[in-house]
Structures are given as structure tokens and as C-alpha cells.
């Protein structure tokens, strides 16, 4: 070996030594498990059967999932949660960012106030909102009672927020929905009132996070565009649609994708606010169902693995969609 070769060899070994600690952890607790989960999902393992007694069942855990009404329900719940929580969160946080993106007094205070819910933990704030939505003692019922009874002079029937399986549109507009197959209805009944409560909680929590990212995006827009628009006499409305919105769209799209991915993985508020899966199972999302299948009751690890893989595929599709659009803009290279 020449001297240069020796040196290169030594550099190579040194580099691997630096990579080893993180690499080993990733290998054992990330790469290996991803394969293991796939393998486990082809068996009929439960935590209660001894290792070695498992049978190969092929894809039947996957076919079972789509025949399982509870799983389809949880898929539907997750979709409901995503569709009704992501757009309002984005819209409200954009509004908050626009309002805060000017020289106003107390900007730091408002920013902190909006951001605070995101810092605090899901478990604790879920407990707080469970209290706010409590039927007897919650502030929500009190507020509506005061408005309808004391101010409008009507009568108010206390709502059982977190125990109400009826869809919110159904409740608001008073129609009943014919129940077709797979939870699909002719008229949208909306998320159940219980799910709606969880959606409100999660919007409340996430506004601040998205607002901060929107603010950073707004501040990176070149000011000269606005000056040019001012000279042309554009209204704020025009300025928003012609300048702000298009220039902000990469940020908006990024947030849309990560919030959708986050929404598909939602679990904690459901576990705390409706530990039994909610009224008629309407607040049990995929991860919640996976947890209750895999780690309670029968401990059906294989079936839970299959469900986890279905979730992974959904999320991979979302991520790939994100990379398609962002691939050119994000520099991952060396």
C-alpha cells in the first residue's frame, strides 16, 4: 500500500467511527424494525402466543383490515379529522401571521400568546379541553346557555359534547342521514360532535406553530413588490392575491403536507379525551385503533403491524407528493 492509500484507508475508518454511534442506533431501531414489521404482518402473532407458534398467513392480515368495520371506521375518522382540521388551521394561522406581520405594538406578546398552546403538552391540554367540553361543568355549555337563555331568551339543552356521536352538519341543519355502506353517506353528516371538539382543540394548539412558519415566509418576501403595487394603487386585497399568496405558496404547500401527515398520525388527544374510542367509535383514528389492537385486549401484534404498514403507505404517498413538488427547491445534495 502506498502512503496515500493508507491515509485514505485511515480516513475511511475514522469516518465510519464517527458515524457508528448514530448508525448503530438507526440500524437496530429504525431499519431493522421496518423490515421486521413487514415480516410480522405476514404472520398471526400475538403477544400472548409463544415465539415459534406463529403461522404464516400471507396477506390475510391486510385483507382482514379492509373487511374490518372498525378499521374502516377508524380510517374514515382519520380522514374526517384531516379534512376538517387542516384547512381551518392553515387559514387561521395565515390570518394571524398577516395581522402580526406589521409594525404593531405588543407584537411579541401576541406572538407568544398564539404560540403558547403549541409548546404545552398534548396530554395536559387535552385534559383541559375535556373539562371545557364537560357536559355539566364545562365552559362551552355555559357560554351557549348564557347566549341562548339570558340574551336571546330561548331555551338551551346542554350538549354532551364529547359523548355525542351525531355529525355536526346533521345537528346544525337537522336532517337525518341515510346510512350507506362503509360510512359513506349521501349527504355529508360531518365529523361527530365529539370529533369536532377534538378538532377545535387541535386547531387551537397548532395555530401558533403554523403562524411562526408563515411569518418567516412573509418576512422573506421582497418588499419592493409591495412598493411597486402601491405606486400602481393596488388595494390590500389585490396585493394579497397578486403578491403575498403566490409568493407564499411554497410555504403553504409545505405546511399543508406536513399537517396532513401529522393529522394521519394523530393519537394523543383521542386517547385522553375519549379513551374508549368515542361515541359509536367516531373518534378513534388509525393509530388509536392500532394501539388498541396491538397493545390492549388480544395483543394482536401482526394485525397491528399490518395496520401500521397501511398507515405508512398513506404517509409515503403524501411524502412523495411533497418531494415531487419540492424536489427541485430543496437542496439535499452534498
Amino acid at each position: 500500500m502506498t502512503g496515500a492509500q493508507k491515509r485514505r484507508m485511515r480516513d475511511q475508518l475514522e469516518a465510519f467511527a464517527y458515524l457508528a454511534p448514530a448508525g448503530l442506533i438507526l440500524l437496530i431501531f429504525w431499519f431493522l424494525p421496518v423490515l421486521l414489521a413487514l415480516i410480522v404482518s405476514f404472520f398471526d402473532a400475538t403477544a400472548l402466543t409463544p415465539i415459534g407458534d406463529f403461522n404464516w398467513v400471507g396477506l390475510s392480515q391486510y385483507t382482514r383490515a379492509f373487511q374490518d368495520e372498525d378499521f374502516v371506521q377508524s380510517l374514515w375518522n382519520t380522514l374526517n379529522y384531516t379534512v376538517y382540521s387542516v384547512p381551518p388551521t392553515l387559514a387561521l394561522s395565515l390570518i394571524a401571521a398577516l395581522l402580526l406581520n406589521s409594525k404593531i405594538k405588543g407584537r411579541a406578546f401576541f406572538r407568544t400568546a398564539f404560540f403558547l398552546p403549541y409548546v404545552t403538552t398534548w396530554v395536559a391540554i387535552s385534559i383541559v379541553w375535556t373539562y371545557l367540553f364537560n357536559r355539566e361543568a364545562g365552559l362551552a355549555n355555559w357560554l351557549f346557555r348564557v347566549i341562548t337563555e339570558d340574551i336571546l331568551g330561548g331555551s338551551y339543552q346542554d350538549l354532551a359534547w364529547l359523548a355525542e356521536p351525531k355529525g355536526i352538519f346533521e345537528m346544525m341543519f337537522g336532517y337525518t342521514v341515510p346510512d350507506l355502506a362503509l360510512g359513506l353517506n349521501a349527504i355529508p353528516e360531518g365529523p361527530s360532535l365529539a370529533m369536532f371538539c377534538i378538532i377545535v382543540t387541535s386547531i387551537w394548539r397548532d395555530i401558533g406553530y403554523f403562524m411562526i412558519i408563515f411569518l418567516a415566509g412573509l418576512q422573506s418576501i421582497d418588499h419592493s413588490y409591495y412598493e411597486a403595487a402601491d405606486i400602481d394603487g393596488a388595494t390590500p386585497f389585490q396585493k394579497f392575491w397578486a403578491i403575498t399568496f403566490p409568493l407564499l405558496s411554497p410555504v403553504t404547500f409545505f405546511l399543508l403536507v406536513i399537517s396532513m401527515i401529522g393529522a394521519f398520525k394523530i393519537f394523543v388527544p383521542m386517547l385522553v379525551m375519549t379513551p374508549d374510542g368515542g361515541p359509536d367509535g367516531t373518534t378513534s383514528p388509525i393509530v388509536f385503533y392500532m394501539y388498541s389492537i396491538g397493545f390492549t385486549g388480544q395483543w394482536e401484534l401482526s394485525y397491528a403491524s399490518a395496520i401500521a404498514y397501511i398507515l405508512t403507505i398513506i404517509i409515503l404517498v403524501l411524502t412523495v407528493a411533497q418531494n415531487r413538488v419540492f424536489g427541485k427547491k430543496v437542496e439535499y445534495g452534498q
Binding site: D11, Q12, V128, Y131, Y209, G233, T312, Q334
Partner: protein, 392 residues
């Protein structure tokens, strides 16, 4: 007394109007003659109005949480909420002997009419922590020479009914009843802090090493390795739960500190963040260090690390926060109460305490407090760290 409910309603109405008006006025053309001046003044007023309303909506749950944690059970479950602490009126336990209850009613009535009453029931009872069979229980004890002949047994059976700031103590020790004196919130805090600190520092070290190799060293397969590492970011953590559970069961680590710390000792996001930062360190520094006879490790430890303090702090905060707030993984790998993290303990407590909202709010306040303090100390890093993720 001014009707607080009415004020709250007026405020709400005003805000709905403000939000509507601000949207309308915001979109008015600037050049509409005399309207301009009115609309400017109006705009800034309504802007603040909207912001204040928004901030109230964001902060109200926190306010409500803190205020409720100072109430007694009856006040916390009352359908007519009490907003201000000075309107709180502590009462005797609902199951106190009837004669005492009547006496309390008479007393509080007289007090409300403005009379000074010497002996108030609240001041008449002592709060003591008592340990029996290894379980700490709060207890109410009538003071000596008390006006009320309260049966101590009665009070002991329902001790939380008449507590103010002491809800925190009661909540703190309450898990002892469900776990036969084995743990209280002190243990939960310990587990969370210990695993949080150890895994944060551990992850910072492994990530800094890997990031250094990716940023400053040339070796075979660098691009491929980096791509593989990035791939793990795409896999949702949920798919790892079951196999990791099986792996830990095989090693025999379930229900130990190892289970809470080791699997998350590497963070791809942190590696990525640090690599970006390290790449900005000029190579001249490395040349200079070599001339001074420093090896690579010394270069990383004595030159790059002090230069990269902000990125260490930002990454450290998010790692600690993620660890502190994690629920699903600790829930799965811990089974004994001693190994519960604060979040698992809080979740168990919320199942346990059911509708004792004054205690639940006290426990939530305790769980949130360290994070909120950390946030206010490190706010700059929080905000910068998050703002950066959106602008990749």
C-alpha cells in the same frame, strides 16, 4: 357586583363585529376620499381588537386551568363558572354533619351581607399530610377550640372538598392511592427529567459526530449513506412501535430506563440540522487546527462545538421537548408505575381522577409548568428553530 357574564357576552359580540368589520375595511380601496382617515383609525383599532380576541381565545384555557386548580371540588364542577379568584368561596365538605353545614350557611350569609365574622370555616380547619401504610393522604383536621364539632373521620373520607392552593399537594400524592403507595408525581417527574436529559445529551453527541462526518470528511459511500439516513425521515414512527417492542422484549429491556432512552438516541432531523450548520464552518479553521497539531475529534470538540452553540441549543430544546411530550412509546414499553413518564402518569391520572377537575387542572398545571418556563427562557431559539423548518 358587575355582571361578569354580561361583560363577557358584550365582549364576544364586539369581537364578532370587529372581525367582520376588519375584513370589510381591510379590503376597501385606499383612495375613497374621506373614508381614508376613518378607515385608518378604525383599522388599527379593529386590528388590535381582533388580536386581543385571538389572544384571549388562546390564553383562556390556560387561565381556566390555573384558576380551577385553586378551586374546591364543588366550585370546579359548578355549572355557573367562577372566573375570578376573589369570588371563590370555600365551603365545608358536602358530607359534614348537618348542623355544621347549617352553621356554615349562616356564617357565609352573614359574611356576604358585609358582617365581620370572627370564625370562618375555612380558617377553622388544618390541612395535614398523613402517612398510613405507606400511602400519603391529605387530611383535614379541625383546629383545637374550633367552633364546629366536625367529625374528623367524615373529613378524612372526603378531604379534597375544601382546598385552595393545596390541590397541588393532593394531586401530587393522589397516584399513591391507585398504586398502593408506590409512586406519586415526584417519581413521574424524576423519570421524565432523567430520561429527557440523558437522551437529549446522548442524541446531541451521536448526532454531532455523524453530522461532522457528513459535513467535514471525505469517505467512500458518503452520498449513499446520507440518502439512506434521510430515508428514515419518511417512515412514520408508528410502524416501529411493534417491532421495537418485540426487540426490547427479546433483549429484556421492557419496563426499564433503557427502553425509554436507547431507541431514540439518534435523531435524523438533528443530524440534518447540525450538518447544515457545520458545513458553514470554513475549512481554513481545519487547516489551522491541523498545523497546531489537533486531530479531528479535538477540532470538533474545541472549535466547531463552541461555534455551533445556537444549533446545539435549538436541537437540544426540541429533543428534550419531544422526549418530555412523548406518550405512545412510553405507554407501550412501561408497565410498572415506577417507570411511568410524566405524560403516562398524567394520562393514567386523568383516567383515575375522572371528573375531579380541580385535581386534574392542578396536575396539568404542574406538568405544563417546566415546559412553559423553558419556553420563556429560550423563546428565541424556539421561534428560530421552527421558523427555519419552513424555509428549507
Amino acid at each position: 357586583m358587575i355582571d361578569l357574564q354580561f361583560i363577557a357576552f358584550l365582549f364576544l359580540l364586539l369581537n364578532v363585529a370587529a372581525i367582520a368589520a376588519v375584513t370589510v375595511i381591510y379590503y376597501l380601496p385606499e383612495r375613497t376620499g374621506r373614508l381614508i382617515k376613518i378607515s385608518r383609525a378604525c383599522k388599527s383599532f379593529l386590528l388590535y381588537e381582533t388580536l386581543v380576541a385571538g389572544a384571549l381565545f388562546m390564553l383562556l384555557p390556560f387561565y381556566w386551568m390555573v384558576v380551577t386548580s385553586f378551586k374546591d371540588a364543588e366550585m370546579a364542577s359548578s355549572p355557573n363558572p367562577i372566573f375570578l379568584p376573589q369570588h371563590m368561596e370555600y365551603r365545608y365538605p358536602a358530607n359534614a354533619p348537618e348542623a355544621d353545614q347549617q352553621a356554615v350557611m349562616v356564617l357565609s350569609q352573614r359574611r356576604r351581607q358585609g358582617e365581620t365574622v370572627d370564625v370562618a370555616p375555612v380558617e377553622d380547619v388544618d390541612f395535614v399530610l398523613e402517612e398510613t401504610d405507606g400511602i400519603t393522604r391529605p387530611r383535614l383536621q379541625p383546629k383545637e377550640g374550633s367552633l364546629f364539632q366536625v367529625d374528623p373521620e367524615m373529613l378524612a373520607s372526603d378531604p379534597v372538598n375544601r382546598l385552595d392552593g393545596r390541590n397541588f399537594l393532593v394531586a401530587w400524592f393522589r397516584p399513591e392511592e391507585a398504586t398502593r403507595g408506590r409512586v406519586n408525581f415526584g417519581q413521574y417527574f424524576w423519570v421524565s427529567s432523567f430520561t429527557g436529559i440523558v437522551s437529549t445529551f446522548g442524541t446531541l453527541i451521536t448526532s454531532a459526530l455523524a453530522a461532522f462526518a457528513f459535513a467535514k470528511m471525505r469517505f467512500w459511500g458518503k452520498g449513499a449513506f446520507f440518502y439512506i439516513v434521510l430515508l428514515t425521515m419518511m417512515v412514520p414512527g408508528q410502524v416501529l412501535l411493534i417491532p421495537n417492542f418485540l426487540i426490547l422484549a427479546k433483549i429484556g429491556w421492557l419496563d426499564t430506563y433503557f427502553a425509554l432512552i436507547v431507541p431514540y438516541l439518534a435523531s435524523v432531523f438533528t443530524i440534518f440540522l447540525m450538518r447544515q450548520f457545520f458545513m458553514g464552518v470554513p475549512d481554513d479553521l481545519w487547516d489551522a487546527a491541523q498545523i497546531d497539531g489537533a486531530g479531528r475529534f479535538r477540532f470538533l470538540w474545541q472549535i466547531i462545538t463552541p461555534l455551533s452553540k445556537p444549533v446545539y441549543i435549538t436541537a437540544g430544546i426540541f429533543l428534550f421537548l419531544g422526549n418530555w411530550n412523548a406518550l405512545l412509546w412510553p405507554l407501550i414499553v412501561t408497565s410498572s408505575p415506577e417507570m411511568r413518564t410524566l405524560m403516562v402518569g398524567l394520562q393514567a391520572f386523568s383516567q383515575d381522577a375522572g371528573s375531579e377537575f380541580h385535581l386534574l387542572m392542578a396536575a396539568s398545571t404542574m406538568a405544563i409548568l417546566p415546559i412553559v418556563i423553558l419556553f420563556f427562557l429560550m423563546q428565541r431559539f424556539f421561534i428560530q428553530g421552527i421558523a427555519r423548518t419552513g424555509l428549507k
